[in-house]
Subunit: 305 residues, 2 copies
């Protein structure tokens, strides 16, 4: 049986070239939404727009981890949705380690000192011996935990029930969220967007952190109560925050986040979907699909990830 | 036989408390230079000043890696000099990885964007697959190499003859300096200050690097031809530099480095001597000294390290 693939991504040509190189069996390319397309590869927001014209759709491979647009209860769910997983862990780890070190090494403070021709040789901190807490330990969290152990940190993990990563020193679940967070040097959110994770970073959680703590959000903006975080940062209740994701993206020009001095923003760049990585994943899944086997990283529409 | 220890360091009280805790055999403390002091622990510049009053000096343990003040040919050399080694590798690795990630992640560029309320989501780079070159692979370089491999980099090492670290992919020696540097994404200097390393980072070496290369100096300022580096940075012949050490420290106010936009300075803070680490080293060496055995990390006055 022949399959027909539609690619819906900004760098679609790159994806097409990489897939053509792999010379996959029984695969043809479509250039626009059509009734004979049974596979789509692309960005969830673009796939959503095309959904109604894809009557034969059998499988959609998202090039992103987050698939919110396709979880809209009004949208079709009569196809297999797989997302990108297992490819962001190393990029996320680089991002997190990079900003932890920027904090410990006072990088931004020393840049300001340089502008003022001031020999700023105050003490630097180290990652060694610090306590990091990971909200969410899936494939990304496991890689972050492995990296944290490499640098000599102690790792706490908060999950629904999984204790799969051996690089987490202590696991917490359910009602133990504040036990998890109390005493952390660094709090990192990697949770997906679900009903349970919405505004999980609230006043109680932020108040449980010591004043020297740094908060990093690479999960979803919806996990943070943004006005509470604004207040905590403005009153120096924690040392700082590094945010890659926001409730609304791009962030509105009048949002208070723009001007908070101890807040660094990175504009959803922490873990870009690299065409090379995602294509590998697609090819692996296509072979399973073509053999009628079950696919990797299937999204549960109800659970939301 | 009793030994008498004089501590000469800015945080001398911290060192004394840590050593007292260890309750070492046959050890008394002196509070000032005296004729019965046979051991001194401290900063080389302070030790040098006291040298003439320490007629019974048998062993000096430096709390720094660099011991230049004590290498002055006019100064005494009739004692055993040991320096701090094996304790800076992890701190140096954190520093180097931190600034490599700051570069790849465009951290300073994104901070400027935030000030202008600009959603700066241009692509980020990654350490994975990059080529790093280490000028000098002693105990610090070996730890940097190990860290670079953790992040998926390819590692070149330039040494006099040693090929001890197994985390270096390719070694270079002698006249192969430009073979070593050609094509590097990152060049890191970790060499000590000797006649052979003076101004080793010159026009030839800088011209051999690609325009996107980043140069990091955590070795000694004397290794760099500073006016040549100034010119290379001002003409964007390389992408940038991160300097922790300088020919003259603190850097004179009229030095051109202060105002070069693609130069980050960190004011000799890359690898602080932590009292806990150095005391461990001292205690280990004291036990050997007390037993009449040869000490760890002995400095060769002629070689200079």
């Amino acid at each position: 049986m022949m399959h027909k693939l539609l690619i819906l991504a900004q760098d679609g040509n790159k994806y097409r070239a990489l897939i053509e190189e792999a010379r996959l069996d029984h695969l043809e390319f479509a250039t626009q939404p059509a009734a004979d397309v049974d596979i789509v590869l692309g960005e969830p927001s673009l796939i959503k727009v095309a959904l109604e014209s894809l009557s034969a759709l059998s499988w959609a491979q998202s090039i992103w981890a987050g698939v919110e647009p396709l979880l809209d209860p009004a949208a079709r769910r009569d196809y297999i949705l797989t997302n990108a997983r297992g490819v962001f862990g190393k990029l996320m780890s680089e991002y997190i380690v990079g900003y932890l070190l920027a904090h410990e090494r006072k990088m931004f403070q020393r840049i300001e000192a340089q502008k003022n021709k001031h020999w700023e040789d105050s003490d630097t901190g180290t990652l060694r011996g610090k306590m990091i807490g990971l909200l969410g330990v899936g494939s990304i969290g496991a890689e972050v935990a492995r990296t944290a152990k490499f640098f000599g940190m102690t790792v706490r993990g908060y999950t629904i029930s999984s204790e799969a990563s051996t690089h987490v020193d202590m696991y917490y679940h359910g009602n133990d969220l504040l036990k998890f967070s109390t005493g952390l040097d660094y709090l990192v959110n990697i949770l997906p967007n679900t009903n349970e994770t919405r505004k999980i970073i609230n006043a109680n959680l932020l108040n449980s952190l010591p004043p020297h703590a740094l908060f990093i959000n690479v999960g979803r903006g919806s996990a943070v109560d943004e006005s509470t975080l604004t207040e905590a940062l403005n009153h120096n209740r924690i040392a700082g925050a590094v945010l890659d994701v926001f409730e609304q993206e791009p962030l509105p020009k009048d949002h208070p986040f723009w001007t908070i001095p101890n807040l660094r923003m990175t504009f959803h760049t922490a873990a870009p979907s690299l065409a090379e990585d995602i294509t590998k994943l697609f090819i692996e899944n296509y072979r399973l699909f073509n053999e009628g086997k079950s696919l990797k990283y299937q999204v549960d529409f109800k659970r939301g990830y």
